[in-house]
């Protein structure tokens, strides 16, 4: 009972502001509703509308592309940084902090920062690219480079959390295992592959699905940096949801987009957990 009491503040907020609205939006997805007035029952009409909308599918493809661009560097990079900063190097505490600090920055600030850095006229990214003889790229307004640019900023922003989780995992791997591997003649690479990677099994089960979920839900940094442009090249599902619901006040269709995104997320998560034999 005491346990529930301690959980109450969290559960109450969770129920009122997350679970109930989420359930309600499933209901709303079957209606026509513009915040004011009474919702009108539409059945599956909203789903038909959104699934035949070209912008929905563009957003859908973009979301998967963004996830593909961000998750591998987030996971592999996070792991790499964790292994690096687990070595007895000088200044590693400072280095860990430097990598982790971006995660504490507000998403709008992340967007603003990278907008400036990627700016085609006075941004420092182009300045250094030109300094080493590379051509100037209009990062955020280029049809091809806009999405990678947004992905780079996201990796910079998010990689710290994955590193911290992997670092914690590394402390759990017994040193004897590395010693045994060395005795059996394995080098650094083989030790990493056969001791470190499997030893972090529990961390992978946590880090990989969470990175995928975070990328599927990407919104703030993209909104600030490109507004989904140029011509829809960085337009993702959550932006589509936002525009449909909060710019056009079509709450039914927006909720339907949300439900579809939830189902996609659920499916991808189940697939991953099955792969890890976690469920």
């Amino acid at each position: 009972m005491t346990a529930y009491l301690f959980l109450a503040p969290y559960l109450l907020v969770f129920l009122l502001f997350l679970l109930l609205p989420a359930l309600a939006s499933v209901g709303v997805s079957f209606t026509r509703w513009g915040i004011l007035g009474t919702p009108r029952w539409l059945g599956v009409q909203n789903y038909r509308t959104i699934l035949t909308d070209a912008m929905f599918w563009k957003a859908f493809r973009n979301t998967l592309y963004f996830t593909l661009l961000t998750v591998p560097p987030l996971v592999a990079g996070g792991l790499g940084l964790a292994v690096l900063f687990n070595q007895p190097l000088r200044g590693r505490v400072l280095a860990r902090t430097v990598v982790f600090v971006p995660y504490a920055i507000m998403v709008t600030v992340v967007g603003m920062l990278w907008s400036w850095m990627f700016n085609s006229n006075f941004g420092f990214v182009n300045f250094y690219m030109q300094a080493v003889g590379l051509p100037k790229v209009a990062w955020l307004t280029d049809a091809v480079w806009a999405m990678p640019a947004v992905a780079i900023s996201t990796v910079w922003w998010q990689i710290g959390t994955n590193m911290v989780i992997y670092l914690a995992g590394l402390q759990e791997i017994p040193a004897e295992l590395y010693e045994a591997a060395r005795v059996d003649g394995s080098g650094i690479w083989k030790s990493f592959l056969y001791v470190t990677v499997p030893g972090l099994y529990l961390m992978h089960v946590f880090v990989i699905p969470l990175s995928v979920i975070a990328s599927l839900r990407a919104f703030g940094q993209i909104l600030v940096m490109t507004h989904g442009g140029p011509f829809g090249q960085t337009y993702t599902l959550v932006q589509h949801l936002y525009a449909t619901g909060w710019v056009n006040f079509r709450m039914g269709e927006a909720s339907a987009v949300g439900v579809v995104l939830l189902l996609v997320t659920l499916l991808l998560t189940v697939v991953q957990l099955r792969y890890f034999r976690a469920i």
Partner: protein, 425 residues
């Protein structure tokens, strides 16, 4: 026994928390005698917004009958908050936004018809430009009082113009002069361009919009029901916009911030609204403004309009208080003009005080455009079609043309299809 004590504590916690949620939504307005307190929301977060807020403060000081509380929300969240507040039964008494968005909220039933109120307050509706007057009406009733009208005009950098051997006293007025200026103001090494052409930022269709009307093209039918932009005249206007980048090479490709580029003197000309006047003056830029050159057969520019409307509060006293404040602002629109806005009120525009004001030399060029200004269409779907901060069929196809990824005619075909489906919903 012990368990039940714990569960009592738990319930106590729950019960103590719940009323707090309930009470937080209830407005606290004192019923005691004193000024009628009204709330006023606007979305002008730039330097101009401060003028509006300080005008309310001045109003509050000058009289004791009405007290205006101002809240400022960025446009991104303004409408969400307003509609949510109306749904909760506690909307702001008075709001300022753009006139083309009025039908959407009138349709939702959250606006008050103003015909009787403006008469009572003594606001002369004939003092407003015909386009603004019309846009303020819907279904035979008046729903708003215009505050200003803001067409876009030509800004040019005097120092750069002189350096190029051009006469800043004779800004371009037609296509040939405009192209000549643009070419002479473009440096071959790419360090300076003649003009900024909105391409990928949130300003999209506005410059092109004027050219559509200059060329006798069309965009949406007069009844607001049919998308008609897929026609040769509209395409020609759009092609000219793209040509400035790819054919004449006088505008930077991939333009993402025309204002920043004009400010940093990377471009010598820009088409923009009057709201940048004070910003550029504060930045110490030596610039002037002029009416947009006529690129095609007749003058035509895009314009918008800030205006007042009242939310339905079912409180006659507060409605009257709100309109009293509107009347005061209209009478003091000279103050608003110094934020870099052309007053909608003719009485103010013809006053000597206004014509001798500090910003008048800059506002004059904008004002001259009023007779041939074309506002964003006032239709229920106006936001859905013309919002520039989301990826609408308009934004997506316009940007594709400016980035040379689609031909003008193909883009207009796609745009027409996309916008028609919005109109059909």
């Amino acid at each position: 026994m012990k368990l039940s004590v714990r569960s009592r504590i738990l319930w106590l916690c729950v019960l103590l928390t719940f009323p707090a949620f309930l009470v937080s939504g209830v407005p606290t307005r004192s019923a005691a005698a004193g000024p009628v307190v009204i709330s006023y929301w606007h979305g002008l977060t730039g330097p101009d917004g401060k003028y509006l807020t300080s005008m309310a403060e001045q109003f509050n000081k000058e009289q004791g009958g009405v007290h205006v509380n101002v809240s400022v929300y960025p446009w991104d969240v303004f409408f969400d908050k307003w509609v949510a507040a109306a749904a909760a039964g506690n909307p702001p008494d008075l709001v300022t936004y753009h006139i083309n968005e009025m039908p959407q909220y009138q349709e939702k039933g959250i606006l008050v018809p103003l015909d009787d109120l403006v008469k009572e307050a003594g606001i002369d509706m004939n003092a407003f430009p015909a386009v603004a007057f019309q846009a303020a009406h819907r279904q035979g009733k008046l729903w708003g009082v215009p505050l200003d009208i803001h067409p876009i005009a030509l800004y040019y950098n005097v120092a750069l113009v002189q350096a190029a051997g051009l006469d800043p006293n004779k800004p371009p007025t037609n296509r040939a002069e405009f192209l000549l200026w643009a070419k002479k103001l473009t440096k071959p090494d790419g360090s300076q361009y003649g003009v900024a052409m909105p391409g990928t930022n949130v300003d999209t269709f506005r410059v092109w919009w004027g050219w559509i009307y200059q060329n006798g093209g069309r965009f949406i039918s007069d009844d607001g029901k049919t998308a008609v932009m897929d026609n040769p005249k509209t395409a020609e206007a759009l092609q000219f916009a793209a040509d400035l980048i790819s054919k004449y090479k006088v505008a930077p490709p991939g333009e993402s911030d025309p204002d920043a580029d004009f400010k940093s003197q990377k471009v010598a000309m820009e088409f923009q609204g009057p709201w940048w006047i004070t910003g550029y003056l504060d930045a110490g830029l030596n610039f002037r403004t002029a009416p947009q050159p006529v690129i095609f057969s007749q003058p035509g520019v895009w314009a918008s309009d800030h205006f007042f409307s009242l939310s339905e509060t079912n409180d006659a006293k507060r409605k009257m208080a709100a309109i009293t404040f509107v009347k005061w602002v209209e009478d003091h629109a000279l103050l608003w003009s110094q934020a870099g806005q052309v007053p909608a009120n003719e009485h103010v525009r013809s006053s000597e005080a206004y014509q001798k004001s500090k910003l008048y030399p800059y506002l004059r060029g904008f004002q001259a455009e009023i007779p041939y200004a074309h506002l964003t269409p006032s239709i229920v779907q106006s936001t859905e079609i013309f919002a520039e901060n989301v990826q609408t069929p308009l934004v997506v196809n316009y940007q594709a043309v400016m980035l040379n990824k689609k031909s003008a005619s193909q883009a207009l075909k796609d745009m027409q299809k996309g916008i028609q489906s919005v109109l059909n919903r």
